[in-house]
């Protein structure tokens, strides 16, 4: 990839992240390569949360006092900036606890559709209907659909994964048919780094009238993403993976769909009118935000989006691409290491691949490898990364995953590679 813009000044960025300055395990420099699980937060985000809590905290969308007004403005301003960040309008953005809740919101709303009235008809599922997912999904984008299929009698089907970690679309037309009511898939695999061909999947889903749900947890934090341009019906992402707080996620839904979808959680804030025996509901997004919502978290996520915008998502993507290429090249040079997912091509580059690099080391269990890396100060994820079926497909019980973000540099990659070699030496396989 040719650099379009000035490279990131990582040293300057790192100064914004206090946690990156600490040491671990007896004075080792912290090499944080687990941003795919959760990212670290810059001072700007922490300050925004603190400033909100010290100056403006109140329950939003209720009360008429000044703090309530300021808190509501801060909350809705965050919603507007977050919506703009992914190319959609504020009324299409629903705040949830996390991305998992966003997916469950859609799944439960669909489950509720059968008894919700004629305007919700397009969400109703039953026997004979099909839900299509992929074998590379995070459990969060698999289990809710398994459950919905069980509750409604619909059938769950899935795309397979090729040996090199791409989605197998060879049976696209056979898998996504007139019976398909919903196609749920990840934008970027949290294990393989694979970036899926959204356009092809959306085109086929639209051709058969199926809804699409995009898991954008690993894409929105790391590259420019325009959800409206992608044409998906729903998408989710989480705040804590994009420099923001935990406890907040985003569900995007196309306006007309959110407008006709029944609620999931009911109660305060989401109503239009309540009588003792029945209620009507507020328009979206409020319809899907029952109860007093998380507020400082929304403000923090708004600040995270501001931070990312200031850096520039193109530059973030380019930076992480360079780190990914360096990691893949380095791991390829270590005998006995096998990377799961797309590797480098003959030109030493790789397309449609993000900065999650999972691998296995012959003779060293991932847990043990992770322990050696941890001893060197290198924080990676070990296990199946909430993608158990994918690991089963790749015939490995677990893997080591290094995942990158804007605050990582080539020194971090070198530490990873050194740690892998150290693990091999420690367990006597090199």
């Amino acid at each position: 990839m040719t650099a379009l813009t000035a490279p990131l000044d990582v040293a300057a960025l790192r100064a914004d992240f206090p946690i990156l300055g600490r040491t671990v395990r007896d004075g080792k420099r912290l090499v944080y390569l687990d941003s795919g699980a959760t990212s670290q937060r810059p001072r700007q985000v922490l300050d925004a949360e603190r400033e909100f809590l010290e100056r403006h905290n109140a329950a939003v969308h209720r009360g008429a006092h000044q703090l309530a007004e300021e808190a509501t403005d801060a909350y809705e301003s965050a919603r507007a900036r977050i919506a703009a960040f992914v190319g959609v309008t504020p009324d299409e953005v629903v705040f949830t606890k996390n991305a998992t809740e966003g997916i469950n919101l859609v799944a439960y709303a669909m489950g509720n559709a059968a008894t919700a009235g004629p305007e919700s008809a397009r969400f109703v599922l039953g026997p004979g209907d099909e839900i299509v997912v992929t074998e590379m999904e995070h459990h969060a984008n698999l289990v809710p659909w398994q459950q919905l299929a069980q509750r409604t009698g619909a059938t769950l089907r899935w795309f397979g994964v090729t040996d090199d970690g791409r989605l197998d679309l060879s049976d696209l037309d056979a898998l996504v048919t007139e019976r398909t009511r919903l196609v749920a898939f990840t934008h970027q695999s949290n294990v393989l780094g694979t970036v899926n061909p959204v356009a092809a999947l959306v085109a086929r889903a639209q051709a058969v009238g199926a809804l699409t749900v995009l898991d954008a947890c690993q894409s929105v934090p790391h590259a420019p993403v325009d959800l409206a341009a992608l044409g998906v019906d729903f998408a989710v992402f989480s705040g804590h993976k994009m420099l923001g707080p935990s406890g907040i996620g985003v569900l995007y839904g196309r306006r007309e769909l959110l407008g006709s979808m029944p609620p999931f959680l009911t109660g305060g804030s989401m109503i239009e009118m309540v009588e003792m025996a029945r209620s009507t509901f507020a328009p979206p997004p409020q319809r899907f935000e029952a109860g007093v919502p998380m507020t400082s978290q929304a403000v923090g996520l708004g600040a995270a989006v501001d931070y990312l915008n200031a850096v520039g998502m193109d530059r973030v993507a380019e930076h992480e691409h360079a780190l990914t290429v360096a990691a893949l090249a380095g791991l390829a040079e270590i005998p006995g290491v096998r990377v799961l997912g797309p590797g480098l091509d003959a030109a030493g580059d790789v397309a449609d691949r993000g900065g999650a690099v999972s691998f296995v080391i012959d003779g060293v269990h991932p847990h043990d490898a992770g322990q050696v890396l941890d001893d060197e100060g290198v924080a990676v994820r070990v296990g199946h990364h909430c993608a158990w079926p994918l690991h089963r497909r790749l015939a490995v019980p677990a893997s080591v995953r290094a995942s990158f973000y804007l605050y990582n540099d080539l020194g971090d990659i070198a530490a990873l590679l050194d740690g892998v070699r150290a693990a091999q030496r420690f367990f006597g396989v090199a």
């Binding site: 395990r25 007896d26 269990h365 991932p366 847990h367 043990d368 322990q371 050696v372 001893d375 070990v382 296990g383 199946h384 158990w388 690991h391 019980p397 677990a398 420690f426 367990f427």
Partner: protein, 146 residues
């Protein structure tokens, strides 16, 4: 370097040369246990002769800690009375859940004392207990004394 504290030679020896591995017949009960955070799994069978643990056989996949711990388990319980085996298990569980504050008794735990260092790493305690949980469950499934 704290690694050596955790990965004592005894643990690595059991990992590389596990004792009692393989699934054998006959058996009275079998248990399958899995660690949902990492996918490590063990299938473990118990054969009793009266009140004595006559054989423990197992197959599984997992990290050095879970594999070595199951290997040590077979050394500690095979040929022992069920009550004796369970009290050894209690001592091992206490050691593992002790956050490194429990002083292990070598007379009771033998090679099991090597896992004292593992107890300082909360994320790995489940690994060390995987085979033991399978043993406990399998004993219970024999329908008797456990």
């Amino acid at each position: 370097m704290q690694l050596q504290q955790m990965y004592q030679e005894i643990i690595l020896d059991h990992y590389k040369n596990p004792h009692g591995r393989g699934l054998r017949e006959p058996y009275d009960a079998e248990s399958f246990q899995v660690n949902p955070t990492c996918g490590d799994e063990v299938t473990l069978r118990v054969r009793l002769a009266g009140d004595t643990v006559e054989d423990v056989s197992y197959e599984g996949q997992g990290c050095s800690i879970s594999q070595a711990s199951t290997s040590v388990l077979t050394d500690l319980v095979v040929g022992r009375g069920v009550a004796d085996a369970l009290s050894t298990m209690d001592a091992f569980v206490e050691l593992m859940q002790g956050r490194g504050q429990v002083e292990p008794d070598e007379d009771v735990l033998e090679d099991g004392i090597a896992f004292a260092g593992v107890a300082k790493y909360p994320a790995r305690v489940k690994c060390a207990l995987l085979g033991w949980m399978a043993f406990k469950d399998a004993l219970a499934r024999t329908g008797g004394q456990a």
